[in-house]
Symmetry: none
Subunit: 224 residues, 4 copies
DNA sequence: GATGAATGAGGATTCATTCAT
DNA sequence: TATGAATGAATCCTCATTCAT
């Protein structure tokens, strides 16, 4: 689950390929594991109780470590959320990120939506904390977390794709459209994640329908 | 500071205007005022800090009463949120509710959307706590609050209207569509409330566009 | 020990002499008692462990109340020290303060020293926390506490008396002399309070000797 | 940052000059360096935050080593303070100590004071931790640290000098006088170290004045 | 009904110290 | 030796809730 970073290599001292950059760590094998444990635990707790109600003690307990251990790796609760967001975004990019580059060339809208949404939804199902942090209507002073990292990343990506389809639209309008798309996506994602089985699929389809109908006039496709 | 309301008066019984229907709760006028004070304060505090971070003490302070007084009217924090939701829903119905009944007859979609959304948005601007409680991504065990009251109320209303337009659709589909509409509405409302001036208007328009494009095929109108 | 504030009067509502000024309190009889208890406890704990090592929980425990109760009256540890300092200074002034006014007229130095030091030493023996707060080499950011309250009060008083004796000295020099006197006093007080019986008396005498010899040339008295 | 002093020369034992007595601790050169590092760091931290508020972790961090390393050389925080006091006293003796032996022969008081105080003040300016540990009004159970080491050392030295001047005084009185002198010195030192430039010099002079006036009658000199 | 005092468990965070590597 | 991870009790402080007046 958390072993995504250093696949190969000796467990203690990181092989020999990039010797030199590894000096200031050393005994961090254990530490890295702990960090992963803690982030996992935080993801669970954030999903279960939300950010505000999540206590650092409960995260530590969930991770099976003492409170002090948590604070050896994170200076406070916010830092945990930030690092978790970063990690999820990184993981997202590593997992699906590359697939996006070719996407926005000039696919038909329906296929574009499939290509973009399916991986996102899949990733959110596998990492429900992602949605929690994106939504983040819980996190005090959340603009920092939300817009600087998770959302900005995705909104900007949306803007880029959008700009490819709407080269003539004024940037403010593109931004507004991207925000709207993203808000709709989050709303639909909420419905998808709170349903299961056939209903979940139906809501997935519905989300695509909404976005297709919203966007087809913009990109000059027949929506009817 | 806090004893400003204890005018004179007998401890148990006061006026006499509405005797008859209201007999056993005469001197509850004071109580009603207290409740209104407290709910107002709660609305402010919930908007400012969110539900979880709002403390009952801060609500009492904001209301200018003591913590003990708060607990004379509400058994716990959750009850405050529930009652606030009820009150807002009641207020909503009192203010705009009647106007809805005739609405869903057979207006063109665009006008229906105006007729439904404009009051809702207006009401949410005036009562931002409404949005907070609707969104409610803060409130632990929120399904109870959300779906039992605010949302259900509005979603059901949406379903009713929708059913008027789609008499042949299976109920499950109507429900799903209503949920989708409502989710989109909340998402758009979030954008609207977090922007101001021209941007706010633009997002309002965008929300209507989204819904119009989503719904026009359903209701058999030309959307293109 | 802490009943110095409202000697006479009914326990609950403070007699009738100053009716009118008592409104905004009401149930604070209990509260005042608690505050006194807490300040007493703080005095003990500060004396025993010093400011930094004193924990708010230990103060509450010493006072026989829960931590929460402490925080109903004091926002934090510093506030306790400040209020304790204020209370001690107030008590000092109430107890001996008036006696000082006539003092500095034109007593012979030896008698002035007796008149000033004996009450101060006596008061410090009765209220050892006074010395702790004066010394205050413990309290972080202590300039606020020390110089604004306890010390300033006494140093200024020293300056005034001194200025009476040295009308021609430049103010900077008077200030320096006052600081020196006060520092010597605190040093001597430390010795006095850490000894007992005959030794204590001997150190008291020694302190007076030091100050007498230091000051007699200044005030134009034969010191030899 | 912290290894700035290890210029040439082994500080205590290292080198090779006195081989023979030091045989079994060859490779302790590293250890000595570590200890010096740690004590330096402790001195800084104690000066900055005081003993109680200084954390062993912060000392280790300031020294650029891990907490575990610190505990390889010191069993606990108190031991660090004790060893630091010892080291400072040793350093004091190495630097100025010898000069004292001839001092107390029979200098005039004013010159004696210069001869004793100037180096002490200078040393304290260079090693502010010395004053912190001497004062030590922070250190819980400080009698141990204070009187067993720093202070005793200096007080005893004062007693010796004093006894040279007052051969007929009873020892208890000599001890009391020495304590008084030392207390005055510490008080004056506090004033000196908290002022700068001309004020610092003025307070230095004032301290000498105080002591001169206090002592001249004792040693049979004309103080007027 | 109203007040404000009282509670104590729980929150985030730190710290002296120990342990595995 | 040195490291840095680990601990858990203790720190300050808050909070929902209750109680005496």
């Amino acid at each position: 689950m958390q072993e995504a970073k250093r696949s190969g290599g000796a467990p203690a001292a990181g092989g020999g390929t990039d010797a030199g950059t590894e000096k200031p760590r050393r005994r961090q094998a254990r530490g890295e594991r702990r960090i992963a444990q803690l982030l996992d635990a935080a993801a669970n707790v954030f999903c279960t109780t939300g950010y505000t109600a999540a206590s650092t003690n409960s995260i530590a307990r969930e991770a099976g470590v003492s409170p002090g251990t948590l604070y050896q790796f994170f200076p406070n609760k916010e830092a945990i959320a930030i690092e978790l967001g970063d990690q999820l975004l990184r993981r997202w990019r590593e997992t699906y990120g590359q697939a996006f580059l070719p996407v926005h060339t000039s696919l038909p809208l329906a296929e574009l939506l499939d290509a973009v949404l399916d991986p996102l939804i899949e990733f959110n199902q596998a990492n429900p904390a992602f949605a929690v942090l994106m939504q983040g209507s819980d996190i005090p002073g959340h603009a920092r977390l939300q817009h600087e990292k998770l959302n900005t990343g995705l909104v900007e990506r949306t803007e880029e794709i959008l700009a490819g389809y709407l080269p003539d639209a004024p940037p403010a309008e593109v931004a507004r459209t991207a925000n709207t798309i993203f808000a709709i996506f989050k709303a639909g994602l909420g419905l998808i994640l709170t349903h299961e089985g056939a209903e979940r699929d139906a809501y997935t389809k519905e989300l695509k329908t909404v976005l297709h109908r919203y966007l087809s006039p913009l990109v000059g496709e027949a929506g009817c």
